[in-house]
């Protein structure tokens, strides 16, 4: 079912020098502490990180619970902010496809699509034999999800000892890490434009619609970057 050798190879990627483990842990410690402060118990906190495994969505859920938003509101707000996972999945899974792997495995493995695991896979997929890329990906996903769940538990239990300033410090780690990764990914005209225009249009569209700014900004910037890149031979 799963090739253990490749699964473990993917799993231990979390130990590499450029691993997102620290950023991921910092973000989910803050999430765990936030969950406790809004009244979730430890089981619900674990359940939430395990099932959702996407930080912005968890933040929105927490804020919605505070203001008492309806389930429909939560659904649309989370769907909008996490819709980025769609292009991320589409731009990753064709690299993992192999006829020997059962289709159902892809639908289970897509649960691990989140920025941290996605970036590791995008960096490393060429070094893995195509037949075993999905097993490798599952290893990467399981290790990242384990860090996220463990950090949520840790954050939940140390919540009372975290000052407001420490929470603020933890909250910046993740965006800074991923900003650095994005800058590091700017290796072609297309990628550089996608990253630069994405941040510019994301901000510009915020003034038109805060809910849709990520999707509209990303769509406009990504399409522009694609065409300019194609015109310039990538």
């Amino acid at each position: 079912m799963i090739n253990i050798k490749y699964f473990l190879k993917g799993f231990f990627c979390i130990k590499s020098a450029n691993s997102p483990a620290v950023a991921l842990a910092a973000g989910f410690i803050a999430i765990g502490a936030l969950f406790k402060s809004i009244g979730l118990n430890i089981q619900e906190s674990i359940f939430s990180t395990f099932l959702t495994y996407a930080m912005p969505g968890s933040l929105i859920m927490a804020e919605s619970l505070i203001v008492g938003a309806s389930l429909l509101n939560i659904f649309f707000a989370v769907w909008l902010v996490n819709a980025r996972l769609y292009p991320m999945t589409v731009s990753l899974f064709p690299l993992l496809t192999h006829k020997s792997q059962p289709r159902l495995k892809y639908y289970l493995a897509c649960h691990f699509v989140a920025v941290s695991a996605w970036l590791i896979m995008k960096e490393n997929y060429k070094s893995v034999e195509r037949k075993y890329r999905l097993d490798y990906w599952i290893g990467v996903g399981v290790s990242n999800l384990s860090v996220a769940v463990a950090a949520t538990v840790f954050g939940f239990f140390i919540a009372d000892y975290l000052s407001k300033d420490m929470m603020i410090g933890l909250a910046i780690v993740n965006p800074v890490y991923f900003t650095c990764v994005m800058v590091g990914a700017m290796k072609t005209i297309q990628m550089s434009l996608a990253v630069i225009l994405g941040s510019l249009f994301g901000i510009l569209f915020y003034f038109i619609s805060p809910e849709w700014c990520i999707l509209f900004g990303g769509l406009t910037a990504g399409t522009l970057a694609f065409f300019v890149g194609e015109l310039n031979g990538n």
Binding site: G57, V78, T89, L92, I168
Partner: protein, 107 residues
């Protein structure tokens, strides 16, 4: 509250999984060297950038309590350190937390 919380978690999980699920479904026959794959690759990076820009400039939660100039300064300093340290991820990541904690508690 208990029922609402559990339902909210389930709704959040479903709303998140939908994008992943349709991603797998629609990429089934996509080839990695096709134009559409390249376009989606650009979309993925630009959407992530848009999300990061939104988190840094218009944050929710704890970050919203810090002045935007302080947030911007921390990200800028960390990016410079990242580039100067030959793209080392550890220095800017660790420094960002320390720097923001220090700045937010003193200014």
């Amino acid at each position: 509250m208990v029922i609402n919380t559990v339902l909210a978690i389930l709704v959040t999980s479903i709303a998140t999984y939908i994008s992943r699920f349709f991603g797998v479904m629609t990429s089934k026959k996509m080839r990695e060297n096709s134009k559409i794959f390249k376009w989606f690759n650009c979309l993925a990076y630009s959407t992530l950038s848009a999300l990061l820009a939104r988190i840094i400039i218009f944050p929710a939660g704890a970050l919203a309590e810090v002045d935007y100039i302080v947030r911007f300064l921390v990200v800028f300093i960390c990016l410079v350190i990242f580039l100067v340290s030959k793209k080392n991820f550890v220095y800017p990541t660790v420094l960002s937390a320390l720097l923001l904690t220090f700045l937010s508690s003193n200014f």
